[in-house]
């Protein structure tokens, strides 16, 4: 420490430059947003290596609305809440459903979209969608998702297999290791069924929206102490709904309004 301060005293210009270099990122980016990047069409990495998707566009629109400059922080899904709590980002905008369990750890804005969850299976899948019907069937979900809790709670006889990302769930659906997968309906439609890899697969069973598991729609997560940021973001969501920016983004991805599911 002494060494540093002497060096600073001796070369004030270098010291000032050093301070500026460290201060710069904080000044230029007042909001860091945790996103996932492996959940098409909401969040993915493009061929050019850029983050893109509905979540990313919404994040940019909210930042523009609030007049904040934002930095996207790509984060592993199952570490995303701790990453927020440790202060490595300030908000989670990653298609995270607002659930009671998560609300014990973090705060949420109002929802920014709401969709149902469905099973996807190979065409010709004829097992009955009940706990008994799925007994012994391999059902694949993303680890730490609401879908894991849903299958554990409602289909305990199914043999549940957990994956780090939703992309890997799709990979093993096509390889045939998964008999069925449970995930968000829209993510499955656009991220899998509408792609070449999804040929020969279809939704099976109903679309589920059970508040106890699936929550009240997807919201933006913030630390519990950040009530001001939460309220600013909530207001910004309503503002872009109002201004038509939301609709513009929505229509670029979906043929219907995802706000109400």
């Amino acid at each position: 420490m002494t060494g540093v301060s002497t060096a600073m005293a001796r070369t004030p210009i270098a010291a000032a430059a050093l301070v500026a270099a460290f201060a710069l990122p904080a000044a230029a980016q007042d909001l860091r947003i945790c996103v996932e990047g492996a959940y098409p069409p909401f969040s993915q990495v493009s061929d050019a290596g850029e983050l893109e998707g509905f979540d990313i566009d919404i994040a940019k629109a909210l930042c523009a609305e609030m007049g904040a400059s934002c930095e996207m922080v790509q984060t592993e899904w199952d570490a995303i809440i701790p990453t927020l709590e440790e202060g490595k980002c300030d908000a989670i905008l990653a298609s995270m459903s607002i659930t009671e369990e998560r609300k014990q750890r973090i705060d949420f804005t109002g929802k920014y979209y709401q969709t149902a969850a469905s099973f996807v299976a190979p065409e010709g899948f004829d097992a009955e969608i009940t706990d008994a019907g799925l007994a012994g069937k391999t059902v694949c979900v993303q680890r730490g998702s609401i879908h894991q809790a849903f299958i554990e709670g409602e289909f305990p006889s199914a043999s549940l297999v957990l994956y780090p990302t939703q992309d890997e769930v799709y990979l093993d659906l096509t390889s045939g290791r998964c008999d069925a997968a449970m995930q968000d309906s829209i993510a499955a439609q656009d991220g899998f069924l509408n792609t070449p890899a999804g040929e020969g697969f279809a939704f099976v069973g109903p679309a589920y929206s059970v508040p106890r598991y699936h929550g009240e729609g997807a919201g933006i997560g913030v630390r519990k102490s950040d009530t001001e940021l939460r309220d600013r973001l909530s207001a910004a969501i309503l503002a872009i709904r109002e201004s038509g920016v939301y609709k513009e983004i929505n229509d670029a991805y979906f043929p219907f309004d995802v706000y109400d599911g």
Binding site: E85, E168, G176, R177, K224
Partner: protein, 246 residues
């Protein structure tokens, strides 16, 4: 126990992300036990099968057997030349992309994540063990070979009674090292859906939105297993390398 959990929940509610809540770990106790078993089972089988493959390959290398030497050299180069994780992904996700693999007789095996791990770990460990054993064989004292020849032993008999047992003794510390590496390397099984020690750790983290509870517990379990390996190897060394003991 219940009072402790209630206190832990309250502290966590108060908002400290640094707090370690042992109840989250204990609530998944049966999974941890199963995770330890899977890690041990996979590691042990990979090491044993790897050894079975490595011994003949090492002999071929040490004896400079024509053609076979070159083939083994290529095999070792390939499996030591890329990360174990890449090899596992290639076997698990890579092979599954080919229709002919999915239609083949091998698919019931390759379909199973556990077998994919065992195959990847075995092939990888065999490469490392081949080099360990080759080194130990090459280091055989010249006098040992001469004594075998003087007694009129056939090359096979000499290998069985003198050269290989001697090499195994010399290789013991390095084989112990390989055991520890394999034990820790096996943690990547959790990336292809296996609920090994790290897999359970990440399950706990994912379920309760925490970091330390799952990872620290996993680290502690790996350390305990490492200690067991080190202790076991030290015992073997005391027995088989007694002439080197001080």
């Amino acid at each position: 126990m219940e009072a402790m959990c209630a206190a832990a929940a309250a502290a966590s509610e108060a908002g400290s992300p640094w707090f370690f809540n042992p109840c989250l770990v204990l609530s998944e106790a049966p999974r941890w036990v199963e995770g330890v078993w899977i890690t041990l089972h996979l590691t042990a089988l990979a090491l044993v099968f790897g050894f079975v493959l490595a011994l003949p390959m090492a002999c071929a290398r040490a004896a400079r057997a024509p053609v076979v030497d070159t083939l083994v050299r290529g095999y070792v180069y390939v499996f030591r030349g890329s990360p174990l994780l890449v090899q596992l992904f290639l076997i698990y996700y890579g092979l599954a992309q080919f229709g002919f693999v999915r239609d083949s007789l091998l698919w019931p095996v390759l379909r199973d994540a556990w077998w994919c791990c065992l195959i990847a770990f075995t092939l990888n460990s065999a490469a490392y063990q081949t080099e360990i054993l080759r080194g130990a064989l090459v280091a055989t004292a010249k006098g040992d070979r001469e004594a075998c020849a003087a007694l009129g032993m056939s090359p096979w008999l000499a290998a069985r009674r003198v050269l290989i047992p001697g090499a195994l003794r010399r290789a013991l510390p390095q084989l112990g090292n390989e055991t520890v590496f394999m034990l820790h390397g096996s943690a990547i099984a959790s990336l292809v859906t296996i609920q090994d020690i790290l897999g359970v750790g990440r399950l706990v983290n994912g379920r309760y939105y925490v970091v330390y509870e799952g990872l620290l517990t996993a680290a502690a379990l790996y350390m305990a297993l490492t200690w067991l390996v080190v202790w076991g190897v030290a015992r073997l060394e005391r027995r088989y390398l007694r002439h080197l003991a001080r």
